[in-house]
Amino acid sequence: MFGAAYVGRAISPFQPWPVPGLSRIPWVGPVLFDHDPLVYASYLLAPALWLLLFRSRWGLVLRGAGERPAVLATYGHSPLLVRYLAVAGGGLLAGVGGAHLSTAYANAWFESMTAGRGFIAVALVIFAAWHPLRAVGGAYLFGAALALSPALQARGYGFNQFALDALPYLVTIAALVVLGRRRTNAAPEDLTRVFQLTPTR
């Protein structure tokens, strides 16, 4: 299959690049400014995407393709084209996120290395209510839940390991239960119609 030749092969991963000056700030420095370039890119990308989606004409068109494609078509845009472009762009970013796992974080690739965390990624989208800044907050919340267990263990604390390992999933379920009770559905309105099998107007 495609890519099989790359399995287990040593790669030259992204190296951590401490931001000169900023990384020396006590506490804040190591937390925020001692990472690989892809992490810094995420600092910039989330606000940039927010600007693009909510403060630019391009974003209006994109959101229109999800909410009211009929209006968009009236203005001479193709909702289908915009949607495909958005999916391609979103897929690209998701791919970069996945690549971060193997090329910058774990520095190796193994089959099934995501270890079922795709479930958390899906929950994150719902948690973030299709909003890039909330997605950042959610990602850090889930990330902290994942990192808690090794951090506690390395300091010699004994907790129920299996309870700690379940934590990210408990957070996921809790987030979905709490957010699921919101009255307004955050999903773009016309996207819900896809599931009702009515043709896009």
Binding site: V7, G8, A10, P13, Q15, P16, L101, S102, Y105, A106, N107, A108, F110, E111, S112, M113, T114, A115, R117, L146, A147, P150, A151, Q153, A154, R155, G156, Y157, G158, F159, N160, Q161, F162, D165
Partner: protein, 378 residues
Amino acid sequence: MRIPRLSAVAAAALLLAACATNTTEKAATADGAPGTGGTKIGFIFVGPKDDYGYNQAAYEGSQAVAKAYPDLEVLTAENVPEDDNAARVMEGMVRKGAKIIFATSYGHRDPALKVAAANPDVVVLQQGNIVDGAMPPNFGTYFGTVYEPVYLAGIVAGRTTKSNKLGYVYAFPISQTLDNINAFQLGAASVNPAAKTYVVNTSNWCDPAKQAEAAKSLLSQGVDVISQHQDCTATVIRATEAAGAYTVGYHADASALAPKGWLTGSEWDWGPLYTKMIQTIVAGSFTGSPYNANFRVGLKTGDNPFVQSPYGPAVDAPTKQLVDDARAKISKDGSPFLGPVVDQAGTVRVAAGTVPDYRTIEAIDYFVEGVVGKIPAS
């Protein structure tokens, strides 16, 4: 130790009877001894065959078998889960003509026993686990004495550390893992009484994201030598090397991933043992042989398939001498767990001068003194 031929014949006769009640076809093809008359040998692995670890080592063993037995076809299956899927995969191999199956992961034991029970003419060998009570005549478990080279590597770690903090990333608190951690700590403490081993578990044999997090957590605590008991090892090694700390490898020689920090490690050399076992099986003398049991082999008894990895550049000559001395001592004593062994609470678990047998060692449920961390409650 050879079991008299008579009992083998008796067992074979029993088997024939068992076959007869099962299917006549099976009884017709087997000449009585399980594992004979096959055209293929099956190997199942819980992970990918190129994980720089446990599965790669087992896979390389299977390839050594293929070389030693060119007329037998070696079937391999990767990523076989430790549940009923494993039984299905093995049954598939049996249908293709395999009369010998190696189930190479700890958790493959129960499906392997199931396949052995359903196919009395097939020898199923399970790597790493043990069977309590009566051993089926066509079944056996086998393993090297894993903790011996780990103890030796612990000596190197104890001599190398400057912070006196060693790190150990492990998957699950099973006895095999606890043995390794204990041996590592005992080895380190034998040359450096101040050395302590900090442990983190990942609850997964190969979860690189967890491993990265574990390595990071340990390094941030000032740990400067890290070892691990994981199936895939590259992530922890790379994180350790990037932080300028030292690596003690496991499962395979991964010194290429840590050119500066590689100290030594433990790695598998399964080929010779696999080949010897197959020799016994195809000769028709498996039942009643030492392999038809919980077979364990160590430095004292000879061919330990778990050997020490080559040294890295950071290891000095006096350290190597200490390791050689310790190896000689284990070859004489029979175990790095020669008493007294004291647990974290200060209780003596192995009395002074006693060498625990493998059943005791493979049932260990405690950390020795000097290990920092608790065994997770289940």
